[in-house]
Each structure stands twice: as structure tokens, then as C-alpha cells.
């Protein structure tokens, strides 16, 4: 009898691995990204869970106990008005992360819309739209943000009657999102352009599918990779930009805290004569930790979702 390898029964085969599972496993292998994910989740949960408490206590001043170093009463110390730095850091985290993620979402939507429209339209319209992106790139970002902020502030406050603090946050994320979408538009356009040359898109077109359907069912799913990666890189940028605006005084207004304006206050507390280090170290430390995690996660996502990056 000839030895023929026995076919293995279907039940004994290991279950098929879907592409997304494969991606998840690649992501998990990247230790930095995986750890970053857990740390970020822990921080987000901590910040969100303490909201009921921090919401009511972030502005409680105590002039007698101002500027105390960390001790049993206040684990992160107190600032000049006696407010607990720990409470403000927690609430500040919520605000900063909200601004960061929302601004990234705004940027993403604008970028996808613009980039896809340009790529699918092609020809002169494409050139015009990309020129507009070039022009907007040429405008100084700070001018755009300040003007957007001042203009929108009035609009939201007077016309829509939103509370001042809500309006402030909305305007801020609109302004930051409004200047961050440009890179995304360029990237998306490049991706869609290269996708359009692929055979399966040509086939879809030959079949007579309308453009919006091609976009939704065929192009968009293939964009998720670069989208997620760039989005995860936009969030930390947005948070940094918020901190810069707070340094200028036009970011989140006190007494509402954000890591940005807490760091800006903290910077004035470290100087030649005195050193209230806790006012700078804690907010800045949390900010940096979050940004780090986001960047590692972004890197990990890129490695996981982009199959051409070989395992080295």
C-alpha cells in the first residue's frame, strides 16, 4: 500500500484566522503599543470615573492652604488659590482628551471629504482643490486659530446662546480641527488615487456602480488603515495645540482646567526663586504620558494594519 497523507478532518483544523484577528495579534506583539493601550485606558477610566467628584470641586478655592506641596490632604498639592491639583488634573484630562479626540474627528471628516472628492473628481478640479490646500497650508496657523476662535465665539454665544464654557470648548475644537485636516486631505487623496488604479475599482466602474457606492463600499473600507493611523497621530497633535493656545491665553479658560492650561500655569511656578514643582510636574507628566501612549498606539496600529512592514 502507498502511504497517502490522510486528509485532516475539518473539525480538527485550527479555526481560520480572519485578517482583523491577524492584525490584532500583530498589534499585541508590539509590547510598547499594547502597554500604551492599557495605560491609556486606565487613565481614561480614572478620569471619567472621578467626574462626579471633580465636577463639583475643581473650583473650590482655599486661600489659606495655597501652594502646599503634596501631602496627605492633597496628593498632588495645591495651586496658588488652594485648589487641589489632583482634582484639576483629573477633570483636565477629561477636557483635554475630549478636545483632542473631537478635533481629530473633525479633521478626519473634513480630510476624507476633501481628499476623496479631489481624487475621484480628478483632472482640473483635483488640481484646484489641492492648490487650495496648499494655500491654506501657507497661512499661518496661529492667525487662523485666533481668528476662528474669536469669530466663532461671538457666533455661538450670541446666536445659539450656548453656555460660555461649552461654547469655548466647541470653538476650540472647531478651530483646531479646522487647521489639522490639511495633512489628512493630502494623505487620503494619495491613497484614493493609488486605489483607483487597482483592478477591483476598475471592475466596479465597469459594472456601472455609481461613484458614491464605489466610495462607500469599496474605497472607504480600504482607507481604514491609513485613516486610523493618521487619526491616532492627529489626536496628540490636537492636544498639544490646545496646550499652546492655553499658553497664549486663548485656550480653555480658567477656572475650567485642561492639561494645557494647567501646564501653562505650572511653567510660571518654576523659576529662579521658587519651585512649586508639583504644579508643573503632575499635569505635564500626565499630558506627556497620554501623548506617548497615543503615539505608541499609533505606531502599533500602523505596524499591525500595514502588511508591507516586514517583521524585523
Amino acid at each position: 500500500m502507498s502511504t497517502v497523507p490522510m486528509p485532516i478532518a475539518a473539525e480538527e483544523l485550527p479555526p481560520p484566522v480572519t485578517p482583523s484577528q491577524r492584525q490584532w495579534r500583530r498589534f499585541r506583539r508590539n509590547k510598547a503599543a499594547f502597554a500604551g493601550l492599557w495605560v491609556l485606558l486606565a487613565m481614561v477610566v480614572a478620569c471619567l470615573a472621578t467626574i462626579p467628584f471633580t465636577r463639583s470641586h475643581y473650583a473650590t478655592t482655599d486661600l489659606v492652604h495655597g501652594r502646599r506641596a503634596p501631602d496627605s490632604n492633597a496628593i498632588f498639592g495645591t495651586d496658588v488659590l488652594g485648589r487641589s491639583v489632583a482634582v484639576r488634573c483629573m477633570l483636565g484630562g477629561v477636557i483635554s482628551l475630549t478636545v483632542g479626540f473631537s478635533a481629530a474627528v473633525v479633521a478626519m471628516c473634513l480630510g476624507i471629504a476633501w481628499g476623496t472628492a479631489a481624487a475621484m473628481a480628478g483632472g482640473r478640479i483635483d488640481a484646484l482643490m489641492m492648490r487650495i490646500v496648499d494655500i491654506l497650508f501657507g497661512l499661518p496657523y496661529i492667525l487662523l486659530v485666533i481668528l476662528l476662535k474669536v469669530g466663532l465665539d461671538g457666533l455661538l454665544h450670541d446666536r445659539l446662546g450656548l453656555g460660555a464654557q461649552t461654547a469655548n470648548i466647541v470653538v476650540l475644537l472647531a478651530a483646531i480641527g479646522g487647521v489639522s485636516w490639511l495633512t489628512m486631505a493630502r494623505v487620503i487623496r494619495g491613497q484614493v488615487l493609488s486605489l483607483q488604479t487597482r483592478p477591483f475599482i476598475e471592475a466596479a466602474r465597469a459594472l456601472g456602480l455609481p461613484p458614491w457606492r464605489i466610495f462607500l463600499r469599496h474605497i472607504l473600507p480600504n482607507l481604514t488603515g491609513p485613516l486610523i493611523v493618521y487619526a491616532s497621530l492627529t489626536v496628540p497633535q490636537a492636544i498639544l495645540q490646545e496646550s499652546f493656545l492655553s499658553f497664549l491665553g486663548i485656550g480653555i479658560q480658567p477656572p475650567m482646567p485642561s492639561w494645557g492650561n494647567l501646564a501653562a500655569e505650572g511653567v510660571t511656578a518654576i523659576n529662579a526663586v521658587q519651585s512649586f514643582w508639583w504644579q508643573l510636574v503632575f499635569p505635564c507628566g500626565l499630558l506627556s504620558l497620554t501623548l506617548l501612549c497615543l503615539n505608541f498606539i499609533g505606531d502599533g496600529l500602523r505596524d499591525a494594519l500595514d502588511p508591507s512592514a516586514a517583521d524585523v
Binding site: P140, I142, V150, G266, V267, I270, V312
Partner: protein, 307 residues
């Protein structure tokens, strides 16, 4: 290629004009009176006279006349710094900003390329972690914190460098260092990732198989290709660094353009805003053009892709 070059150069004034129009609209639309210093109220007759003087009494006239002036090289008269013309202000502070920005980009480029390459070549070693650490600090710590800490470290704790003056080349070092950390972080990352990708590609394996020394492989064959994404990041990064980082200039008392620009926006000094935006944008658009050119020179694939 030549046609592309020509068309881009011809588009340059059009782009500038578009930028001017958008900025003009924004500047006019925002509430706030450029002639009003905080505190004392200005007599309406005085304000009307001043508006006439600067040609700002009618928006259309202002739009046309300013463009006219700009083309002839006259950037106008600053409103908040009434003794100075915009030409003088920008003429004195732009070179300073460019010096700091140029030095910062230089440090970032050299440091980033070296660290990124070292990190890619000696993966998972100490150098790799050092390069990652630099990348990390640059990306995650805001510039004003870096600047403040550097100031305290260099000038107070260690008493190494003098502070506040602008007299000798040493004064350039600290603001340039503070400004360079963020681009250095990006360049390190980009280089490192690019090198990792390139080093595993076929032609490098061929070069190694041919028996070339590792240094030659890295510097002659791998790095030039890995540098491409760095280049496309360089263009806008250099332009923005050169026109001054507000934070760094303020913290280290550098008489550069960034501070004036932000102040002019906050004080609604419309003349200086328009002047600065036009100068700044010219620089950025020119820089982008140069980078595109360099990119096409280095990567023929881009030359083939139609614009």
C-alpha cells in the same frame, strides 16, 4: 519637468494673492479696533484721522492700496508700534527668526538623522532607546515646558549660559536647542522607520552580498532613500521654524518675528498682520516649491505621476 517648474512659478503670485484675500477678509471680519490701546478711549476724530492716514477708512480702498504698496515693496506702517514701519520691523526681526529657525532645523536634521540611523542599525540597543527617548520628549512635551526647563537648567541651576541678550553666537544655542527638539523627534522617527524598511529591502541585501562595508551600505545606499519622507516633512517644518516660534522667542528673549506676529494678531494691528502673513506665506510657498523640486530630482517615480 520644466513645464511643471514654470507652471508652479507662475502660480506663485496667484497663491499669494489668494492668501492675501483670505487673510484680509479674516482680519476685517474679526471684532476689535486696531487703534484702541487698552485703557484710554480714543477720540473719534483722532481715530478718523488715523484711519485716513493709513488708508484704512474704506475697506475696498485699503484692500487695493495695500496690495499696490506690497508689490512696490512698502509694507506699510505699524499701528501699535507707531514709530516704526513694517519694513523696519520685519527687516530687523525676520533674520533673527530665520537664524534661530535655521540653527534649530540644522540641529534637528543632523541629530535626527544620526540618531534615527543609529537606532535602526543597532536595534533594541541603548542607542535605539536613546533615540526613542528623544523622539518621545519632542512629541509629548509642549515646547513652552521644554523652553522653561532649559532656561532654568542652563541659566539658573548650572549657570552655564547668559540669559536674555543677543550678542554672541552662544545666545543662539539655547533657543535653537529648545526649538529643535520637536522636529528632531519627528525626523528621528521618520529616519528610523524609513531605515528599518529600507534595510530589509532587496537592493540592500544585494549590496551587502556584494561585500560592501556596512558604513558604505548605510550612508551611500540606504540613507539617501530613507531620507525622502524626511524631505517632505522638512519643507513646511523649516518654514514654520524659521518664521519664529513664539514661545521660544518669548522665553529666551530673542528679538524675532514670532512674538511680533502673535502680538499683532492679538492687538489687531492690521498692517503688520498683512505684512507678516504675506512675507511668511511667500517663504512657505517658496519652500514647498523647493522641496517638491528636490523630491522630483531624487525620486523619478514622482516625476512620472501626473499632477
Amino acid at each position: 519637468m520644466r513645464r511643471m517648474l514654470l507652471s508652479r512659478v507662475l502660480q506663485f503670485p496667484l497663491i499669494l494673492w489668494a492668501i492675501y484675500t483670505i487673510t484680509f477678509i479674516m482680519v476685517i471680519a474679526v471684532p476689535g479696533n486696531p487703534f484702541q490701546a487698552a485703557g484710554r478711549k480714543l477720540n473719534p476724530a483722532t481715530e478718523a484721522a488715523l484711519r485716513r492716514r493709513y488708508g484704512m477708512d474704506d475697506n475696498w480702498r485699503f484692500y487695493a492700496s495695500y496690495l499696490n504698496r506690497f508689490v512696490r515693496g512698502d509694507l506699510g506702517q505699524s499701528i501699535q508700534y507707531e514709530s516704526w514701519t513694517c519694513n523696519e520691523i520685519i527687516g530687523e526681526s525676520l533674520p533673527v527668526s530665520m537664524a534661530v529657525g535655521g540653527a534649530a532645523m540644522l540641529i534637528a536634521l543632523v541629530g535626527g538623522l544620526l540618531l534615527g540611523t543609529a537606532g535602526a542599525v543597532y536595534r533594541h540597543s541603548l542607542i535605539d532607546y536613546l533615540s526613542l527617548a528623544i523622539a518621545v520628549i519632542g512629541i509629548s512635551v509642549p515646547t513652552f515646558v521644554i523652553g522653561a526647563i532649559l532656561l532654568v537648567l542652563f541659566s539658573v541651576t548650572w549657570r552655564l549660559l547668559p540669559v536674555g541678550t543677543w550678542e554672541s553666537p552662544i545666545d543662539l544655542l539655547r533657543p535653537a536647542l529648545a526649538l529643535s527638539l520637536v522636529p528632531m523627534a519627528y525626523i528621528t522617527r521618520l529616519t528610523r522607520l524609513g531605515m528599518i524598511e529600507i534595510m530589509s529591502s532587496d537592493f540592500i541585501r544585494t549590496a551587502r552580498a556584494k561585500g560592501l562595508s556596512p558604513a558604505r551600505v548605510i550612508f551611500r545606499h540606504a540613507l539617501p532613500n530613507a531620507v525622502l519622507p524626511v524631505l517632505s516633512y522638512l519643507g513646511p517644518a523649516t518654514a514654520s521654524a524659521m518664521t519664529g516660534s513664539f514661545v521660544v522667542e518669548r522665553v529666551f528673549n530673542v528679538p524675532g518675528l514670532g512674538v511680533h506676529f502673535v502680538n499683532s494678531v492679538l492687538n489687531r494691528d492690521q498692517m503688520l498682520i498683512l505684512a507678516t502673513v504675506l512675507v511668511y506665506s511667500s517663504l512657505i510657498v517658496a519652500m514647498n516649491l523647493l522641496v517638491d523640486l528636490a523630491y522630483r530630482l531624487l525620486d523619478p517615480r514622482m516625476a512620472e505621476a501626473a499632477t
